[in-house]
């Protein structure tokens, strides 16, 4: 039967089910197919903090959202056009987010009175009109999967597990995706269990064929490949990009990589990833706690490694004292904070940007630390290299801020050729630099104010460092009042010096007519960009700038801000960057804040920006 194929510019799909239903895997696969096909895309995985919350409950729902388009896009989309819901809980938990008229594909298998009651429904929404705003396809996906696998000899339970593949097959048909990749993937993943591989492939094909054959779906859709800059692309999550960025920085600086870390969501995957790359000289140390993690990294830094520690908010709080020591020792160290919802344990699997001020001020005394932030999953790669560059060049701990949204979200990424990356020249001290052949471990480079890095093993440069205030140049303990004042200001000056080598801030103001500037940092890049496009589409000029460097700010930031009547700062916190900007530049920046554990929705943000443009 020949079917209609309709062209779309963009689609937002969300698939949702129990945490045990394999939704993240299904989402990943659909993303890969879509990436292979050449669409631009952005993803948003969302899962509960529990490993396996009880089946069929709202708390146990896991979902994966994918936005893909024939043009470049910036966010995983606000409101799904399509929801695939594998059980009543998944339907209930996600219904509120759908746009009117959205397509709903629901596995009706589990819509029993009991299951419905469990999520607080006393009648069946598939039947009672609840869903009339939507294009509902209630299908017994589970049963169809079981039927497809009837001959395999698998138990009902095992066979039922493949229902996600059935759903994926159906989606693949609907959106005209290539299927070879998925089949190869399944074969590879279950290479040791061929009967499971077979079942999954059968279910996947059955789903595809069901779309092709049945009359339920009158149309398939096509979203043309996007035109992106030329190059080789892959899909990548933020944590993976960050890990690769660190290895690349290690190669470009010629220093072995050392990671000292303690597992914590959503940072653990960086530890997992790096532990797999020992052949590149990467040492990973799973420490007894966060303090030992950063401590070991600092020890490795003293020994001449590119030293890194990774954590999330609660773990970063524990590292404060040691970060202060690193400031005092003036050794390079990259501290990655993959932010999550706080305070305290907060919302471990949700995203937030509320550690900026902790990164700035979370330790005793005047202990300034440069801060860089990543703005998209792929950008985590570049941000990691930039953090390493600053740390190594200025001999200082550096914060690299990412967050749960970047960490797990993915996007197509143009893979750089390693030799296009900046080199990070590092030169260990090898000769005495003081009078009479002495070594002065705190004699500074006049340009960067960096002190020499003399690693153990270098004859003649034996020296001692420590956390007590040090005399200028010699580094000996000093309680001298003027020396202390000098050293406090010098450490600050060194961090301020970072700005000198930064490029001017890029401002996106196509018409040049904008009176309002939207300033952002970190993972709000996508939503802000999307919101700004919406505003512009309505004919209003508006400018956007996004900060990679939060400390120090780029040197021209003040001048940029002064070009605009109003500056708006959207943040997933209560206004942390806004506070820093207000204090430094004394401008009445408007803070737009949302602390919902979720990225901004472009649509809502656009409305708020429009409000500022309209009413100032």
């Amino acid at each position: 039967m020949a079917k209609d194929v309709r062209q779309l510019e963009r689609v937002v799909i969300r698939i949702a089910g129990d945490s045990g239903d394999g939704m993240q895997l299904t989402g990943d696969r659909f993303t890969q197919e879509t990436a292979q096909f050449g669409n631009d895309l952005a993803t948003f995985p969302n899962f509960p903090a529990e490993i396996r919350a009880p089946q069929g409950t709202l708390a146990g729902v896991s979902s994966f959202q994918l936005h893909f388009a024939d043009h470049d896009i910036l966010t995983p989309g606000d409101r799904p056009d399509v929801l695939v819901a594998m059980n009543p809980a998944a339907l209930k938990a996600n219904l509120g987010d759908l746009r009117d008229g959205a397509t709903l594909i629901v596995d009706s298998h589990d819509f029993t009175t009991r299951a419905l009651a469990r999520v607080g429904w006393d009648s069946n929404p598939l039947e009672d009109g609840t869903l009339e705003k939507f294009q509902l396809h209630a299908l017994d996906l589970t049963q169809m999967t079981l039927d497809a696998l009837a001959d395999t000899g698998l138990s009902r339970k095992d066979a039922g597990r493949s229902k996600n593949m059935f759903a994926l097959g159906l989606l693949s048909w609907m959106y005209s995706r290539p299927t070879e990749g998925t089949i190869a993937f399944i074969e590879h993943k279950f290479a040791r269990k061929p009967e499971i591989a077979g079942a999954n492939i059968t279910a996947f094909r059955a789903g595809y064929n069901f779309g092709e054959t049945t009359e339920a779906f009158a149309v398939a859709y096509e979203v043309k490949p996007a035109t992106l800059p030329t190059g080789t692309y892959r899909n990548i999550t933020g944590n993976l990009a960050l890990a690769y960025g660190l290895i690349a920085a290690s190669k470009r600086s010629g220093l072995p990589l050392f990671l000292g870390a303690y597992p914590i969501t959503p940072a653990s995957d960086i530890l997992h990833e790096l532990s797999r790359h020992k052949r590149f000289g990467v040492r990973t140390f799973q420490a007894e706690d966060e303090i030992a993690g950063i401590g070991a990294a600092l020890g490795a830094a003293f020994g001449g490694s590119l030293a890194v520690t990774t954590s999330s908010g609660p773990g970063i709080a524990l590292k404060g004292e040691t970060i202060g020591l690193a400031v005092s020792l003036e050794l390079p160290l990259v501290i990655c904070d993959i932010q999550r919802g706080g305070p305290s344990t907060g919302l471990p699997t949700k995203t937030e940007q509320s550690d900026l001020l902790q990164a700035m001020f979370g330790r005793n005394g005047e202990a300034p630390v440069p801060i860089v932030a990543a703005q998209s999953p792929g950008d985590c790669f570049d941000a990691a290299i930039e953090a390493a560059r600053i740390a190594l060049t200025y001999r200082t701990p550096v914060f690299l801020l990412s967050d749960g949204y970047l960490a797990n979200g993915s996007e197509p990424w143009r893979v750089p050729s390693l030799d296009e990356l900046p080199e990070i020249p590092v030169c260990f001290a090898s000769e005495p630099n003081g009078p009479d052949g002495s070594f002065l471990p705190y004699l500074r480079d006049p340009e960067t104010l960096a002190r020499p890095w003399a690693v153990p093993g270098t004859p003649g440069l034996e020296h001692r460092v420590g956390g007590i205030e040090k005399a200028d140049k010699t580094g000996n303990i000093s309680y001298d009042p003027d020396n202390h004042d000098f050293m406090v200001r010098t450490r600050q000056a060194k961090v301020d010096r970072v700005a000198a080598a930064l490029p001017p801030l890029a401002v996106d103001d196509p018409s040049g007519d904008a009176r309002v500037l939207v300033l952002g940092w970190g993972s709000t890049y996508g939503p802000i960009g999307a919101a700004v496009r919406r505003v512009r589409r309505s004919g209003v000029p508006i400018a956007q700038a996004h900060l990679r460097h939060l400390n120090p700010f780029p040197g021209d930031l003040g001048a940029v801000l002064n070009r605009y009547d109003r500056v708006v700062i959207p943040e997933m916190n209560l206004g942390q960057l806004a506070m820093m900007i207000r204090a430094k530049y004394l401008i009445d920046a408007i803070s737009i804040t949302q602390v919902r554990g979720l990225p901004f929705k472009a649509e809502e943000l656009a409305e708020m920006l429009q409000g500022v443009v309209d009413h100032g």
Binding site: I247, R283, E321, R414, P459
Partner: protein, 339 residues
């Protein structure tokens, strides 16, 4: 070990030593500086890492690489250093508060990992630097600035703690006995892995005389239980006391023990099962004054540092780790071209 022609004075830094006059730390410093040439390791390959406390000022006085870090964290910092630079000889200097109060966790984890660290624990049973609060090794009922009615918590026996934490090398010695101290340093340096040396150290300002019983000529032979591998554990003024095995298997001290008494214990530092060493350590619980001294346990196990290096080597042998391999890794398996 190679004789590099170094002398004790080569290990003295130009920094003025700033402990209180009479502090036991001086003797330990002198002993360590005196021992260093024996190591046969060039100064630049030696690193001293310490925490915070009087004792932790130690690295400043050694003309080697050194780090005076923060309170309790030296074992963690040293672990990173030693693991990333297994070519170095890494020494940790710490106090009873530094290592057993705030730093207890890092200590026990270093021990179980068997990182190649030589840990010198200066135990003066008091917080010196902060002027005299009780420490986790202070005796029960200790009256100090923070415990005017006496402390309430049972002290740790550092040797027991280390043995409970899978320590491979545990020894004890005394600040004032330079020869013994040196012999223990020598054994520790020869050990592959974490070596914990508890050094009884007198703080003459805040806990003076804590170890007098072990120092004064009329009592020390009664309370020091000297341990030498392969030798019967005998002590006492006339050598008639000994450590014997009771019928229930436990170790106790007995008087008037003959040379050929079958109960007499021959010290074996190398038994794999730490129960024996633990029993020795607990002689102090029968009478707190007993102090087994010397190498209590020394067994062989691969070190963490070398195991990690081996994994890196194995991985590198199995697949290339060069720039083009990295390029491949970053590309991954699912790429597409945009032309």
């Amino acid at each position: 070990m190679a004789d590099l022609g170094l002398k004790a004075k080569d290990f003295k830094s130009d920094q003025e030593v700033r402990w209180c006059p009479g502090c036991g730390d001086y003797a330990i410093l002198a002993a360590v500086q005196g021992f260093m040439p024996e190591l046969g390791i060039p100064r630049e390959n030696i690193v001293f890492v310490s925490g915070i406390g009087c004792s932790s000022r130690f690295p400043y006085y050694m003309n080697t690489y050194g780090m005076h870090s923060i309170h309790g964290r030296a074992p963690a910092i040293a672990t990173g250093l030693s693991t990333s630079r297994p070519d170095l000889s890494v020494w940790v200097v710490t106090g009873d508060g530094d290592s057993l109060s705030i730093g207890g966790n890092h200590l026990i984890h270093a021990l179980r990992r068997n990182v190649n660290l030589k840990i010198l624990l200066f135990n003066n049973r008091i917080y010196g630097l902060t002027k005299g609060q009780y420490s986790p090794t202070s005796e029960l009922g200790k009256i100090t600035k923070s415990t005017p009615m006496g402390s309430l918590d049972r002290p740790f026996n550092p040797v027991s703690v280390a043995l409970g934490a899978e320590g491979t090398f545990v020894a004890r010695t005394l600040d004032s006995d330079r020869k013994h101290l040196t012999s223990v340093l020598r054994a520790a340096a020869a050990h592959q892995g974490t070596a914990l040396i508890e050094i009884y150290q007198n703080c003459n300002i805040f806990n003076d005389g804590a170890f007098d019983l072990l120092k004064e000529s009329d009592s020390r032979e009664d309370w020091i239980i000297p341990l030498e591998h392969g030798r019967p554990i005998r002590f006492g003024k006339d050598g008639s006391k000994a450590v014997v095995r009771a019928s229930d298997g436990s170790l106790t001290v007995a008087d008037q023990v003959d040379e050929d008494d079958p109960r007499l214990v021959i010290h074996d530092a190398h038994v794999e099962n730490p129960s024996y060493a633990f029993s020795l350590a607990r002689l102090s619980s029968s009478d707190a004054r007993y102090a087994p001294m010397g190498v209590i346990r020394s067994v062989t196990r691969p070190t963490y540092d070398h195991l990690m290096t081996d994994q890196l080597d194995t991985a590198a042998a199995a697949a290339p780790g060069d720039e083009s391999a990295l390029q491949k890794l970053i590309l991954g398996n699912d790429t597409w071209q945009v032309a």
